[in-house]
């Protein structure tokens, strides 16, 4: 074992079919952020969904965990060109969160502790495509990676997976979030290289 040369392993990283165009494989998990890392105790944590009627649905940490955690194995792609394949998470499906919510709006603004926002179409959060992630690699999600909970929308560039998420606000139109106001793409599909406007 271990004698087979790299040439026999097949594809070079440039040809890895799991890598979207313009991405490279990252070994680590960069953690730079746009502000001080919020330090949020799960006892103080809450999550709120606000609809167009003004109605608010809220969950405490325990209520959110009681919805049930799913195992998630997925690739993640950052707009700054690193990708990490086969990452392991646990989180609460947004299908469970939206099960009891009445809304006609098609767009969502995700809000975070610290004031960060990002916009996502509602359909991108449903049907098993998005989670409130609370564990990474078998451990509680640490604050530098967005803990205690971050949005996880892995089919879009990773900035859409808002760190320190604490709520969703339904929107009639696809208004830009924080980075989307400053040059980043409104939708952010890594396979279409939707990085900037």
């Amino acid at each position: 074992m271990g004698i087979i040369s790299r040439g026999f392993s097949g594809r070079s990283r440039e040809h890895n079919p799991d890598l979207p165009p313009g991405q490279y494989l990252a070994e680590d998990f960069p953690v730079l952020s746009a502000g001080p890392t919020p330090d949020i105790d799960t006892a103080d944590w809450s999550f709120r969904v606000q609809t167009e009627s003004g109605k608010q649905y809220t969950w405490s940490w325990d209520e959110m965990q009681a919805l049930g955690l799913e195992e998630i194995h997925t690739d993640i792609h950052c707009v700054t060109r690193w990708s990490k394949l086969g990452t392991s998470w646990r989180g609460i499906s947004l299908d469970k969160i939206f099960a009891g919510i009445e809304t006609e709006n098609a767009y969502v603004m995700a809000h975070s502790y610290g004031g960060y926002t990002t916009n996502v179409p509602l359909e991108d959060l449903l049907d098993g495509k998005a989670w409130i992630a609370t564990e990474y690699d078998g451990e509680p999600l640490d604050p530098e990676h967005g803990g205690p909970a971050r949005l996880l929308v892995p089919h879009l560039y990773f900035w859409k997976s808002a760190k320190w998420v604490n709520g969703l606000r339904m929107m009639e139109t696809d208004d830009p979030g924080f980075w989307e106001q400053n040059g980043y793409h409104l939708y952010g599909d890594p396979w279409l290289e939707q990085r900037y406007w």
Binding site: L32, G35, P36, D39, C78, Q181, N182, G183, Y184, W197
Partner: protein
């Protein structure tokens, strides 16, 4: 809070392509608290996505700089006035 920022002099690099003057010597008024101070005193966070400068007193966001494929985005949302010594 775990500060992970450097001081406002870090803005000299990303902004030198945009302005003919040294922006870190310019004074800005913080929309959040009204403080007027040189941008060199701001707290600058270098996110992967871009630079974010925050007020050294009240932590409000002063400005954002994002480099894109073909240029730069500058958002001065948190500065209500900028004084440049000429």
């Amino acid at each position: 809070m775990m500060p992970r920022h450097v001081d406002g002099n870090a803005l000299a690099g990303p902004l030198s392509d945009l302005f003919a003057f040294d922006v870190t010597c310019a004074s800005g008024r913080c929309v959040g608290c009204g403080d007027v101070t040189v941008l060199a005193r701001a707290m600058v966070y270098e996110d992967e996505m871009g630079f974010v400068a925050r007020c050294h007193l009240c932590d409000s966001m002063l400005l954002t700089v994002v480099r894109t494929a073909d240029g730069a985005w500058l958002d001065l949302q948190g500065i209500s006035g900028l004084h440049v010594a000429l």
